[in-house]
Each structure stands twice: as C-alpha cells, then as structure tokens.
Amino acid sequence: MKIFVCVKQVPDTETKIKIAGDGKSLDLAGVKWILCPYDEFAVEEAIRFREKNAGATVTVVSAGPDRVAEALRTALAMGCDEAIHVAAPESADSYLNSKALARAIEKNGPAHIVFTGKQAIDDDCAQVHQALAEFMNVPAVTVVLRAQYGATIAVEREIEGGTIEKYDVPTPCVIAAQKGMNEPRYASLPNIMKAKKKEIKKLSMADLDLSNAAAKISYKQITLPPERSACKMIEGDPATAAKALVKALHEEAKVI
C-alpha cells in the first residue's frame, strides 16, 4: 500500500521579501528555506498511517529546483521511507506543479492516499491539492482536521465559523491537512543522519512527458504593499482616549 505526501519548500515565515530587478519576480538570495508548516501535518499523518498499517510505505514528493532536496531530507528525517524530486522549473504555477506531481505519483504508484497541506505559504494559492486530485481523477477533501481510516476514510473538514463538514471518502484520494490535524514530530538526530544517506529519486520534466508543458499563469509585476501613513496616536486617560478614538473612527475614518 503506497502512501504519498506532497511537500513544498517555502521561505521561512520571518523572511523579508525583496523584489528582483525585473520587477516581476522575487530576489530569493539568502532566504532561509523551510518545509511548508501545513505540509508537516501531512507528513505526520502519512507516517502515523504507515505505523498502523503493516506493509504501507510513505513516499514524499516535492516539485521545484534542486534546493527542494533539503525539504525532502527533512521529511525523510521525520520518517518517510522514500523521496522523489520532480525537477520542475521555478516558473511552474499551481497547474503545472499539480500536473507534474500527479504524473510522478502515478509513475510510482498506485497511490492509496496522497496527503498534502491545505496551502503553501509562499504563493498562498491553495490549489495544488484539488488540482492534483483532478489530474489523478480521484476525490479530495481539503482543510482536514481529522481523518479516521477504515474501508473508507471518515474525514472532518473545517469551513466558515468553525463549522465541520463530514465526508466518507473512498481510496484512492487526496487529503489536505489543516493545522491541528495532529502534532508533527521532531526528527531525532539518528534519523536526521540516516536521512542524509538516503537516495532521492529525481524525475525530470521530460521523464514525465512534460518537456513542452508551460505554466498557465505568470506574474507581470510584483509590488510591496503601500506603506500605511503613520499611526495617529491618541492620548489621554482611558475615557478621554476612548472618546477621541470613537470620534476619529466616526468622523474621520468613517468606519463606524
């Protein structure tokens, strides 16, 4: 039984964004790369599934430039068995990455379950899970808080207002993890050492018959948010300040 988990390597959440000279891409030099935080829940869920299902194996897959090998090693150190690096170009969008991931998984499958995160925190697209499922022609549930694995998978998905939608999903399927689905483990030192020696299988876009495939969207221009004008500090004791603040919100900002 083959379990797959898709992980994206993203800049650390503290990263200061710099726009490159062309005005339409980012200057990523010196960025500290991490495994996308949501994908840690996906990795953890995949490993827990394997621990409860003898004979199951977990393969972690990441699409992107050579640097993503580091994210794959992190997932291996957490406990994944095998790793696949899909050599997708930096310009790949959600569409192309999903297509490449689907083909890589199918080539190394058949997949029983594919776990992903609910959103990559770099481009914030929240598309690859369902797009990947559509390419694979399998069902998917996203923003998953809980999953119970039986003949089908009983899944709880979080929607507006903390409301829960319940699904029974047959396998094969894609499940996209929300924060809180589990408590991701830390890799132990011996496992980090072992992960360093593991082989990472590399698939080129040509291996996936995607040499000529292109992204569907790109960016014409990237801008930093306009600086807010300086904060107006409101002085006085609590009652005075409250009065002045409400007056400002009412008469100046006109939001009350």
Binding site: D122, D123, A126, P139, K166, K216, K220
Partner: protein, 323 residues
Amino acid sequence: MKVLVYCEHSNGKLKKGSLEVLSNCAQWGVETHALLLGAPGTLATLAAQTEKFAPHTVHTAEHSALAHYSPEGFAKVVADAAKSLGADALLATVSSQSKDFFPRVAVKLDTGMASDCTSVNVAGGKLEAIRPMYAGKCSAAVDFQGAKPAIATIRPNALGMKPEKAGKPAVAAVSCDPGTIRAAVKEVVAKAGGSGKTDLTEADRIVSGGRSLKNAENFKILEDLAAVIGATVGASRAAVDAGYRPHSDQVGQTGKTVSPTLYMAFGISGAIQHLAGMRSSKVIVAVNSDANAPIFQKADYGVVGDLFQIVPALTEELKKVVH
C-alpha cells in the same frame, strides 16, 4: 466580453461576497452571467436576488446531486456551464467552498486561475487581477496569458459593494450532469455558539485579542464591544494556543486571512505572522500597553494603555454613536 459569476448561497440567501462581485461586474460594462447551483425547485427565489445588479442572464443548475456540496459535482457543473456559455472570465467570491472546488474547475477547463485576489478589474476586454502572496508581504499582477476563461476568486470586502443597477435578468435553466461523485458532504456540524455569527473571513468589522487577555473569560469584554458594532471576535495565535479561543478564531499566517473595513487589535504585539493575516484591513486600530509594540507601525490609530480600562470605555463611547 462574457463574465460568468458563480454565486454561492446558504440558508436561502446569496452570499454577500457573490453580490459584491455581481455589483462590480455591473460597473464594468460586460455581459454578466450569474450561475446558481442547487437542489430541484430551490433556485427561483435566489435568482431573483440578483436583480438589483441586473445580470444579463441567471443560469440555474438544479439537480438532486447538487443538494449537498461536493467538490467533484460542483466543479463539473460549473466547468460545463463556463464551456457552453463560452465565458471569457469566470469569477467567484473566496469562501471555504470556492477555495475547495475552483482548482478542479481550472483543471477541467485547462486554464489558469488566480486565487484569493484583492483587486479585479476589466480593461480592454481583459480580466486584470492582483493577488497577495507571502501572506500579503507582496502583491502580484497576474498575467493570464490569454487563458479562456480567465479564472479569479476574490476576497470578500475587497471590491466593495457597488450601487444598485436594477433590471430583470433572463432566467435560464441549465441541463446539468454532476458526473460521478465520490466525496460529498454527508453531515454538517455547527460549532456550539458559533452559528449566526459572521465568519472572520467575511466580517466587515473584527475585534481581536491576544495573550494579554489572560484567560477565556476576559474575552467577554471584547465580545461586549463586538456586539455593539456588529463585529466578529478574533484572536492571536498566542491566545489560541493558550486555549482562550478556538483555532477557528485565529487570525494570521496559520489562521484566517481577513480583510475587514475595521480591525481592532487589543493587546496584540503585532508579530509578522499575525500581521500576515490582517494587514489588508482598511482601518487598523491598536491598543497596547507598550508604546513600542510593532503593531503600531501597521495601525492607523493607536492608544497606549491598559486594554482592561480602555475596552469598557470604548464600548460605552461606541454605544453613543451606533444606533
């Protein structure tokens, strides 16, 4: 130019975000088509709700398999409708639902999609969209590369509700085939006490509290304030991790992304991951006892002081101006 708007509804009402998109289409001088999905016999009254923004046609797709949400069924029906209409653009408001199934629509139509946009416009017969990335640390203007249809989902409150332009749209029933559905909602469980409140992601006003509230009970003062101005209560991760609020109330990079007209932060330091979730708010108010708290750098109005004194005073003052 034909623009198809997927209109989401719940409890017999169109979502405000969907109406917002329709109201903007009415300003762009495009041929607007509204699309509604639902169980047989349920869509006529919903179709009438679009009249104030006079779309060209409302397409109603009624099918027993559309009574409950399913990503596969909804994606197929929306993609088929966009194809048969020959839509140049396909739009929807951002919601848990559209976030979930629109990526499948894009794949079915073999086209690109810009999700979670904060600005969308039509110029020279083309869709223009700007979407935030890196949790709002930058924004990107999207090049759809001639995709047909160009697909964009738009954050609630981002475009604003435009003036009414009443008119009677044609209503056309769509013959639809939801196809094979392997995963559909079988039960919906509302959070206790959570129903009836506007969700953070749709809220026009948000009142948030942080670690400094010290316990769950103290959030009552924020709830009282929120009740006066019809706001939704949010929280920082520190408050959520401490168990004062559920995770569904968390604003920030690993919580909700919100863009209300008014965001009030009480005792929140303004960590970059919190700012990530609320920086696109129109007006930001910060109350913090530390004059050097980073939140003041992103706020429009600031008060340095003890929230336990300021919040009740503010609630009383707000009562005087809100009727």
